[in-house]
């Protein structure tokens, strides 16, 4: 899987490149500015672009704007946005239209190599990777919701992992259960929340997010 990295901290950029290379990714380019990023994406058409949210020159929203530009002009390129903070508002903005080929993770997540590389792959394969912090913030907002109260604790775990963008297989691995069991939980959750079941992972993410936002 071909990856481009835009990150202005040298330590982190080199670390990321090494981490991905050691895990069978093809790091075709690294850079530290939004312009270079767009150039590299145009030239290499990678599967995933990993973008630091704070990029020069102002370190304000250049990263997000670059991510949005890539999604608009290169819809086949997955974008994984990394940040020291995850902001619910930004996540909602990024997921506004689709949950396809998009990821938004805390930088800390890079320390769990397996989890992180899975997330990158998911984004590259057309899925999504939403930071658990975002999901818990969303769930926090629905704390006193009677519908959510009907969901069992196990189902709630499944719901959270599903909202992060994981596939049934991913959820099953994570919870150490069979995919069949996961599917059963999901059907139950959708029934309880009154959502229509979709087998498409990212549609499913959007449906869950929409429910959590409402």
């Amino acid at each position: 899987m071909r990856v481009v990295i835009a990150e202005d901290s040298v330590l982190l950029r080199e670390g990321l490149a090494r981490l991905l290379a050691e895990n069978d990714f093809d790091v075709v380019g690294t850079c530290d500015t939004p312009d270079e990023l767009l150039l590299k994406v145009r030239s290499y058409e990678p599967e995933v672009a990993i973008v630091d949210i704070r990029l020069p020159p102002t370190h304000n929203d250049e990263g997000i704007r670059a991510a949005e530009a890539i999604r608009e002009h290169h819809p086949s390129v997955g974008v994984l946005v990394l940040s020291q903070y995850v902001e619910l508002g930004l996540a909602l903005k990024l997921l506004e239209e689709s949950a396809e080929r998009i990821g938004y993770l805390l930088k800390d997540r890079v320390s769990d190599v397996k989890e992180f590389t899975t997330a990158v792959r998911r984004v590259g394969d057309g899925g999504s990777a939403i930071d658990p912090t975002i999901i818990s913030q969303l769930l926090g907002r629905r704390r006193h919701d009677s519908l959510l109260d009907r969901v069992t604790p196990r189902e709630r775990e499944v719901l959270e992992l599903m909202a992060e963008g994981r596939s049934n297989q991913g959820i099953a691995e994570r919870l150490v259960v069979t995919e069949r069991a996961v599917q059963k939980h999901i059907t139950s959750i959708f029934e309880k929340l009154g959502l229509t079941v979709s087998c498409d992972d990212h549609r499913r993410v959007l449906a869950v997010l929409a429910f959590l936002r409402s």
């Binding site: 330590l11 981490l19 800390d108 890079v110 320390s111 190599v113 913030q137 926090g140």
Partner: protein
């Protein structure tokens, strides 16, 4: 009432006229001279009546008397009002001189000597008349061109007239020495040509003066207009007289024009006197204790100068300011477009009037208005001073808050680019190491623990950095930042953000802190079950409202958090209000102007 003493700033009045040699300070002396002038004028008629004159002559004589009276009367008014301005005395003198000149004619006198002197005498009067026109309104000649014109007219009227008489061959000419009609005629023509040349310059000058004048100044220029007309009529007379006998009608026009000049002067002085009744109106207005903001309007009405403005003297800043405390610069240039009158109360400088220079011509009015406004001006000065100090205070509060803001931003940036990045890179290294120890469960476990510990440190560092400065506000705007705040609040928050575009950073940061602090207060004290946060922009104001359904009774004075928020909001000229009745929730509302 404290006495106010106006001073004149900037333009030093140049060419203050020198006084006549005689002492003319006594009012009764002036009255006596003028009564004499008025009383003797009818003698002009008496001599004709004795002569058994015709009706046509009567009209001429009545006009002739009117000329004398108009000069004496208006001269008296001017002289009595402003003894230091010799224009009044000059006018009275011209009136008396006129009468005397017209008495030196047959049949009152028949001696050729007196008649010849009379001829000369009347021409000297003409010179005096032109001098008055040039000297208006100051009473003296201040400009080089005025002096030059006066000298030319004098030469034409006196020395050339004497020269002419030396050659004029006529029986009633007592001065004839060499009777040569041709020479006399040449001199006469020269005199008339010189006059006509002077007349052109005079009319042009008067026209320019009128055109250049500001509207308030034009009100005082009526005598100049009358003077211009008179010069034209007299020129016509001079031309016609050379070739044929002057028609009576033209003579009457000339006499009427002569009368018009002092009459116009009298009118403009009476008008000024009427203006002084506006001082009485001003007194009444000031007794009603007008708000300082209405003071400039009242003074402007009293002085009939719509362009009038006030500048208040702020002693500790050693500068002038308007009522809002904004600095005002007094121009010291004498370009003549604005004039400044300084007003002192009890020897303390209080304010400056910035007005049209023409008001200088109505110095008494200016003095009276300044004196009347004294106390009210003092009050307004205090207000201006207060505002200036408030402005300074507000500016310093803004500076302090902004300096703190910049410092926090710098700290956050340093943390982000330094410690946080390094720790993330370190945790990445640990993660990589961990994968390399796949077959050493103990080391792998230890590495995992270290990695998780590092993750917690990063989490704490992140919270710390966020508390120092919400970088997300700067980076992504208020709406995004508030979304997270609402999500992280320990109770349900209904958030509505209605902003079309980004606002200035300090407004966004203030609103962010306002919501953040309010939500923290609600969580800590309110025992609320729900909060609504509304952020909207309307009418060039950012409005932030946080309402909870808790127990209310929040104290705005003891809560340093609320006080700090109020400081932030007020530093941006906004208002923070808190409603917190016992038992009915708390509502915090901030309105921040934001164009």
């Amino acid at each position: 009432m404290a006495a106010s003493v106006p001073r004149v700033l900037g333009e030093v009045r140049r060419g203050v006229p020198r006084h006549l040699g005689i002492t003319v300070s006594s009012h009764w002396f002036r009255v006596a001279v003028c009564v004499l002038g008025i009383a003797t004028a009818p003698l002009i008629v008496v001599r004709i009546v004795r002569d058994g004159g015709s009706e046509a002559l009567d009209t001429t004589l009545v006009l002739t008397v009117l000329v004398a009276w108009s000069f004496v009367a208006s001269g008296f008014v001017a002289w009595d009002r402003r003894p230091e301005n010799r224009l009044g005395a000059l006018l009275v003198l011209l009136g008396v001189w006129w009468t005397a000149g017209h008495l030196m004619q047959p049949p009152t006198f028949s001696s050729p000597f007196v008649l010849t002197v009379g001829e000369l005498w009347r021409l000297v009067w003409t010179f005096g008349f032109v001098y008055v026109l040039l000297a208006f309104p100051r009473g003296g000649l201040t400009r080089r061109v005025d002096m030059l014109l006066a000298v030319i007219v004098f030469v034409a009227a006196v020395p050339l007239q004497v020269l002419w008489l030396l050659f004029l061959d006529q029986p009633e000419n007592a001065f004839v020495v060499w009777p040569r009609p041709a020479t006399a005629d040449a001199i006469d023509s020269a005199q008339r040509i010189i006059w006509l040349a002077v007349a052109v310059v005079l009319v042009a000058m008067f026209a320019k003066r009128w055109l250049d004048a500001t509207p308030p100044l034009r009100r005082t220029l009526a005598p100049v207009v009358a003077g211009g007309v008179t010069v034209l009529v007299f020129s016509l007379y001079v031309i016609v007289d050379k070739f044929r006998e002057v028609p009576l009608f033209l003579l009457w026009c000339l006499l009427a024009a002569y009368t018009a000049v002092p009459m116009a002067l009298l009118w403009s002085m009476l008008r000024a006197r009427l203006a002084r009744s506006s001082v009485a109106d001003l007194f009444l207005e000031l007794r009603a204790r007008p708000a300082p903001a209405e003071l400039a309007g009242a003074l402007s009405r009293a002085l009939r100068d719509p362009s009038l403005t006030l500048a208040y003297w702020l002693p500790q800043y050693e500068s002038y300011a308007d009522l809002e405390g904004r600095p005002v610069k007094l121009s010291k240039e004498t370009d003549g477009t604005r004039a400044t009158t300084l007003i002192d109360v009890d020897g303390r400088h209080v304010a400056a009037l910035l007005h049209d220079p023409s008001l200088r011509e109505e110095q008494e009015l200016l003095d009276a208005v300044s004196a009347a406004a004294g106390i009210a001006l003092e009050n307004a000065q205090l207000q201006a001073e207060l505002r200036a100090r408030l402005d300074e205070l507000r500016a310093s509060r803004v500076r302090i808050l902004e300096a703190a803001q910049v410092e926090r931003q710098r700290l956050e940036r340093n943390l982000h680019d330094g410690a946080q990045q390094r720790l993330v890179a370190l945790s990445l290294e640990l993660g990589l190491l961990e994968t390399q120890f796949a077959d050493d469960p103990q080391s792998k476990q230890q590495l995992k623990q270290a990695r998780e510990e590092l993750g917690r440190s990063l989490q704490e560092l992140r919270e710390l950095a966020r508390g120092i400065h919400p970088a997300v506000v700067t980076g992504h705007g208020l709406a995004v930042a508030l979304e997270t705040l609402a999500a992280r609040a320990p109770l349900p928050v209904r958030l509505t953000v209605d902003l079309d575009e980004r606002l200035p950073e300090r407004h966004e940061v203030a609103a962010y802190y306002l919501v953040s602090e309010s939500l923290a207060n609600v969580a800590k004290h309110a025992q609320a079950t729900a909060v609504t946060v509304d952020v909207a922009y309307s009418d060039e104001r950012l409005v932030v409202e946080v309402v909870d359904d808790g127990k209310g009774g929040a104290n705005t004075d003891t809560g340093s958090g609320l006080r700090g928020l109020a400081d932030r909001v007020e530093a941006l000229d906004g208002r923070l209000r808190v409603w917190s009745a016992q038992g009915s929730g708390t509502r915090v509302r901030a309105e921040i102007p934001c164009a």
